[in-house]
Assembly symmetry: C2
DNA sequence: TATTTGTGAAACCGAATAGTTGCACATATA
DNA sequence: TATATGTGCAACTATTCGGTTTCACAAATA
């Protein structure tokens, strides 16, 4: 069973859950109210998110609050980092092209 | 058939392909040499990457060069953006906690 | 022209995925 | 104590996924 951050955010419902609890921890029931699927389906998504450590649980009586582990999100950011250099370079190259055109017009 | 960027980068082989062709366009055969799977499997991955516009093709005689559409990668970055504010805030909150502890010691 | 090379597409297969329904169990509450 | 509530887990199902094998076809080359 593959269980990494990238696989976790592949599902649109899971991405929505992540956004939903980003600012405020929520219980499975509260989360499920925001979606068309059953509470159990949401519970399964939460399990996957927990397994890859994107969310953590906080027991409060018989309620369980799920909260986003924002640090884990940085893992995606870290992977993107290697491309950031490239798209900045491409941007500079575009700059050069534009200035070449500009200079030609003079 | 769902076909978005997040689903595309969920597969580790596809992520490796993306990294591989990020700096230099390559043919399917050349790409396949870097992996344990068959050329056809790579071809299927390239099709998925093409369908969600993460890569584009450039025909060169009978060879087809696949190149990364770096701009599409920014879509992931854009999604991450909404969390960036949060993790910066969390960082600041940590700062506050630390300074509170520091002040208490005085 | 005949053959090799580079490629995509279709058919098939086993495993994983996302969902459902039904159940178990612990914690609140009457 | 009996009941209601919040939750996770197991079993089942249809669909998707990633891979392989086989084939078709166009472009390069002998």
């Amino acid at each position: 069973m593959r269980r990494d951050v990238f696989q976790a955010i592949a599902d649109p419902t899971r991405r929505a859950i992540i956004v939903l609890i980003a600012l405020q921890a929520m219980t499975p029931n509260a989360i499920a109210e925001h979606f068309d699927t059953s509470r159990q389906a949401v519970s399964k998504h939460l399990r996957i998110l927990t397994e890859c450590e994107l969310v953590s649980q906080k027991q409060e009586g018989r309620e369980i609050y799920y909260q986003l582990q924002i640090n884990k999100m940085k893992e995606i950011d870290k992977w993107l980092n290697q491309f950031r250099k490239i798209w900045e370079t491409r941007f500079n190259q575009l700059d050069e092209v534009l200035s070449t055109i500009k200079n030609r017009k003079k």
